[in-house]
């Protein structure tokens, strides 16, 4: 059994006095594809932002690669940031830069490669996500799916051990969505990186997820944890079975 790369203990999160989730405990193991599930508005993306240190938890701790996440401790925070890559929901590519410049930005900042080598490396990164040849396009010239793939390429720029993906296949057609899933699986296999994915696309979950947790808005806690294929049929929680079998709540 591999050891956990991310440990969350007693995490309570929320905004302005309102808690979204209380007392979350879970581990993410090295090399797995870990999926965070839940209904709309339950705090999946917020949890992701806590995991990468953009939000401060109300209480509890997050440990990544043995280091305690604390945005106040700049040195440790930057060492943690060096092991992670994040793909945001809308891609969050810098709109004033071309695709190539977007991917090159972290490489130029954190490595001593010269311009020519960086250009080659950028081409390799874009090749991995199937966007070779688009180096000189601006983000606005790309489709939604291409933007997401480009954002993955940028997240991969420094070969982080852990990749966080926020709704990678949301808003994509079934083919692009399936391509993105295949890409995640291939990257996971070839790079050995840990993936933490927020999604609620059922087909995606069954294709990529090794393990899932499901957040529940009402009880503000994790109501299921494990293999989605097993949970679909055996979970004692009606919401979990509804979710996996795509049934509306009112008819349950």
């Amino acid at each position: 059994m591999t050891s956990p790369v991310i440990s969350v203990r007693g995490l309570t999160m929320g905004f302005g006095g309102q808690t979204l989730m209380e007392n979350l405990d879970f581990d993410i193991l090295g090399g797995e594809i870990f999926v965070i599930l839940g209904g709309s508005g339950c705090g999946k993306s917020t949890l992701l932002k806590h995991l990468v240190g953009l939000h401060k938890p109300m209480s509890g701790s997050i440990t990544i690669a043995g280091m305690r996440m604390d945005p106040g401790d700049t040195e440790t925070f930057h060492r943690i940031l060096a092991c992670i890559g994040v793909m945001y929901q809308g891609g969050a590519l810098f709109s004033s830069m071309t695709l190539g410049e977007n991917v090159a930005l972290p490489i130029a900042e954190y490595s001593d490669l010269d311009q020519g080598d960086i250009a080659d490396l950028v081409r390799l990164k874009l090749r991995q996500v199937g966007l070779e040849g688009f180096e000189h396009h601006l983000p606005e010239e790309l489709s939604g799916g291409m933007k997401k793939r480009a954002a993955i390429a940028r997240a991969l720029a420094l070969n982080p051990g852990i990749l966080f993906l926020d709704e990678p296949s949301a808003g994509l057609d079934p083919i692009s969505s399936a391509e993105l899933d295949a890409l995640i699986l291939r990257l996971n296999r070839t790079l050995g990186a840990t993936f933490v994915v927020v999604t609620h696309e059922l087909s995606s979950i069954f294709t990529i997820a090794g393990r899932v947790i499901m957040l529940d808005k009402k009880s503000k806690s994790i109501i299921a944890e494990g293999d989605p294929r097993v949970l679909r049929d055996t979970s004692p929680h009606p919401f979990v079975r509804q979710f996996f079998n795509r049934r509306p709540e009112m008819e349950a």
Partner: protein, 374 residues
Amino acid sequence: MTDSPTLTVDLRSDSLGLALRGALNLHTTPAILNRLAKLPLPLPGRISVDMGGVERMDDCGALVMIRLQRMAREHDSAITWQNIPEHVQEVARFLRLESLPETTRSTKTKPGFLARFGMKTLHVTDQAGNHVAFVGELTVGLFSLFRHPGRLRLGDTITYMQRVGVDALPIVGLISFLLGLIMAFMSAVQLQQFGANIYVASLVALAMVRELGPIMTAIIVAGRSGSAFAAEIGTMKVSEEVDALITMGFQPTMFLVAPKVSASFLVVPLLALYSNLFAIAGGLLIGVTTLNLTPHAYMLQTMNTLTIFDVNWGIFKSAIFAVLIAAIGCFKGYQVRGGAASVGQATTSAVVTSMFMIILVDSILAVILRYWRP
């Protein structure tokens, strides 16, 4: 009572008979509701509604049923529905008409005075904390730039120097020229009475170089670039680009704010100098055309009036205004939460706050100068 195509009313002393017909939708419902509201009160004890003729009903049409039910309840009348077609029943089931809440008015109550006072206080202290944190971060960032100038993103800085400075040249030139022209024109009317034509040159030069040049330039820069900074950073916040910067290990202040502040600091004083030149040119035009001054005499008087201190003082003030405008624009951009409306607010607020701060700081500096150099 008259009948309409969709509603027949049969009012007797002990009963009210209504018949609905045709399509009940957004077009026909208002007229029906209107007629129901005009029925003479009190209503009789029994109301019967015949819905047999209803061909179509949507959720708007359902309002008629809700209104009738409510009227019956208010007047203690017994209501009976007759001949409800299957398709109407289907709509009623879908809308769950039987369980409609008593009133559909807004149930959100306004918080009490104390609660609002508390929320406002929390908001203000939160804001104050943000201000202090931002100013602190910016100061630390700029000082570290003095020690390691290589950390400034040079490409971005040059781009912003162009946007703030070069691109503003036409508008700053035009406005300053016209300002000098107007000033000379207005003062000429007065000074001519005393034969003091030549002092028009002094007035234009001194007023522009000491006060109006830096202020006009700063106001134009606030409107052109301060707003642009706020909108740019605000949009980056909305699209999570700022978050992306942080998780890529960049400091947003160094990455986004420092180039804008440095670029403004470098070019706005130059813009102010340029503005002075154009204003003096405007004054010169009036002096030569309407006051019978020679260009040589006008320029000589201008040079005699101005000291090098006046010029330096104007440049110094411009540099302070530049840092204020850029920092306020960036800060307001950072404050953006949510979406497009918030970006608009940030942009407005950046310009208004900048202008206020420009005038405030200018007044403070004027007072300081008065006592420092009597």
